[in-house]
Amino acid sequence: MYSSTVMDHFKNPRNVGEIENADGIGEVGNPLCGDMMTIYLKIEEDAIKDIKFKTFGCGAAIAVSSMLTEMAKGKTLAEAKKITNKSVAAALEGLPKNKLHCSNLGADALHLAIQDYEDKKAGIVRPKPKREEKHEHDHEEGGKCHCPYCNIEVTEDDLFCVGCGKMLKKLH
């Protein structure tokens, strides 16, 4: 299922952990989707002196985090900003198609961590992004409701989506 590079990074992940008093922290993902990633940066002279990650997720998500930290370490911030999810996946010799959407979040987390560092430097305070995603009711009373996962029409009192089997009650 996974390339040998992915398996190598999954089995021997590089740069796992947290950095105390990190200069920048970036968090992406939520448990609803399946994967969560946190990137910690230590910056010196506008370059990434040290980088660590914590990840909750599948083999691909862990390998992505590990590869990303290897790619970013030692780079200037300008260089690091050029790292994309695509280039991380390419460095891993590809990821299974269904993992590209949810597990390939490493570069997003890195960019958020860099932004966090730059915000702090500039004195900007941004609200922390929420991790939990909720199904928002955007339709009128009595209107049609659709499953947030597979988009099939469901009714107000459906406990689960007959399309994908997903529970709806908690989100509804």
Binding site: F10, G34, F56, L159, M167
Partner: protein, 387 residues
């Protein structure tokens, strides 16, 4: 090192006697049971012998009430679509539970596209359906109730007899998906009182690709497959005789060995659950503590994700299954785990451990030891783990 198989649910190993019977059948060049000549007659005799063995396993009053299919999925599709299509003039309402297998859920989805209405009854935190909820959901339009015998993710057994009492009183056909129960725990169609019951050979050490459906005589349903008059005119197509022979032999040995297999499995299950509780903090054992399959343990390991656990165990040659969204391919948390109130993150870290007659206590010991290390490694990586 020999691999440790704790993923019996995916496919049971074939019993040696099943292998031998199937190989002999391949070598014998069996004919077509529908042919009128002697070779055909002999094939038909072999077919009926397997049907009799299967009838004994589920205590079907007549072997003719059993049809063979390509497995659990076909049986379930046949039962639900067959009853639905045969009864459209009476109504278009179906009742089910919210922890059914996808073979049931997606079959019902298809029918919903044809204007069938569905009521899905919730389960309690142990995964049990309350029969009173089924009774309450019945309307004049109800033409089918379908509830599984045991759940394939958490092992919980359902009160099928009680539900059948309600459906019989109301004269509504009742289908029971018993795929994970038949050949594992006692399933007696007469005692249960169901009208239709699905089963699959690969859950009781028989081959994959063959299963069947019990159809109480007098139950009206449309065939899924039209063509020849095979299987009592209910399932067209030349029978998969070699597979059915394997199923028959597996059914015979299930009748013989069920008690001793379950005695063995229950001992392993108890040891496994105790070991999980002793070795790993912050876990949930899912499913009913007593009314549950003897060969299945579902455990949610908090703060980590299941696919990672499976891959790391695989490196140590230990096979288990997970219900994490990532591994499922569908990228959705298990509807069964959400139905019993696990949250999304905990559902992600859920393993389904299934075992059988060849599993030893030493296998369980090694699994627990390796799992403990794997959990430690993954938790050290997890942003959710704050210890």
């Amino acid at each position: 090192m020999k691999p440790i198989n704790l993923d019996y649910l995916s496919a049971n190993p074939l019993l040696p006697e099943v292998q031998e019977a199937m190989i002999a059948a391949i070598r014998a060049n069996l004919g077509n049971p529908s042919s009128p000549h002697q070779v055909g007659d002999q094939a038909a005799e072999t077919l009926e012998k397997a049907r009799e063995s299967m009838a004994r396993l589920i205590n079907s009053p007549s072997p003719q009430e059993i049809i063979f299919t390509s497995g659990g999925t076909e049986s379930i599709n046949q039962a639900i679509k067959g009853v639905a299509l045969a009864n459209t003039k009476k109504g278009k309402h179906i009742i089910t539970s919210n922890i059914e297998h996808n073979a049931v859920l997606r079959t019902i989805r298809r029918l919903r596209m044809m204007d069938f209405k569905v009521t899905s009854v919730s389960v309690d935190e142990n995964g049990r359906v309350n029969p009173a909820d089924i009774a309450k959901a019945i309307t004049e339009e109800t033409i089918l109730v379908t509830v599984m015998h045991s759940n394939n993710e958490i092992g919980t057994l359902q009160p099928i007899e009680e539900i059948a009492r309600i459906t019989r009183e109301q004269k509504i056909p009742f289908h029971c998906d018993a795929v994970t129960s038949v050949g594992v725990v006692p399933v007696d169609v007469q005692r249960l009182g169901v009208d239709l019951l699905s089963f699959s050979a690969n859950q009781f050490y028989g081959p994959s690709g063959v299963g069947g459906l019990y159809i109480r005589s007098g139950t009206s349903l449309w065939p899924l497959l039209d063509g020849g008059v095979q299987e009592n005119n209910k399932r067209a197509g030349t029978e998969n005789l070699i597979g059915i022979i394997g199923l028959g032999v597996a059914a015979e040995s299930a009748v013989r060995e069920m008690e001793s297999r379950n005695h063995h499995c229950l001992r392993l299950k108890k040891k496994l659950i105790q070991g999980l509780k002793n070795h790993i903090e912050d876990i949930f054992i899912n499913g009913h503590p007593e009314l549950s399959l003897p060969n299945l343990v579902s455990v949610s390991i908090r703060y980590i994700e299941g696919e990672g656990i499976v891959l790391m165990l695989d490196e140590e040659k230990i096979l288990v299954s997970t219900r994490s969204a990532c591994a499922a391919g569908a990228l959705q948390a298990s509807h069964v785990l959400l139905a019993i109130n696990r949250d999304f993150a905990d559902a992600q870290g859920t393993l389904v451990i299934t075992f059988g007659k060849e599993t030893t206590e030493a296998d369980i010991d090694r699994f627990l030891l390796v799992l403990k290390n794997v959990v430690q490694t993954l938790r050290a990586m997890s942003p959710l783990y704050k210890k």
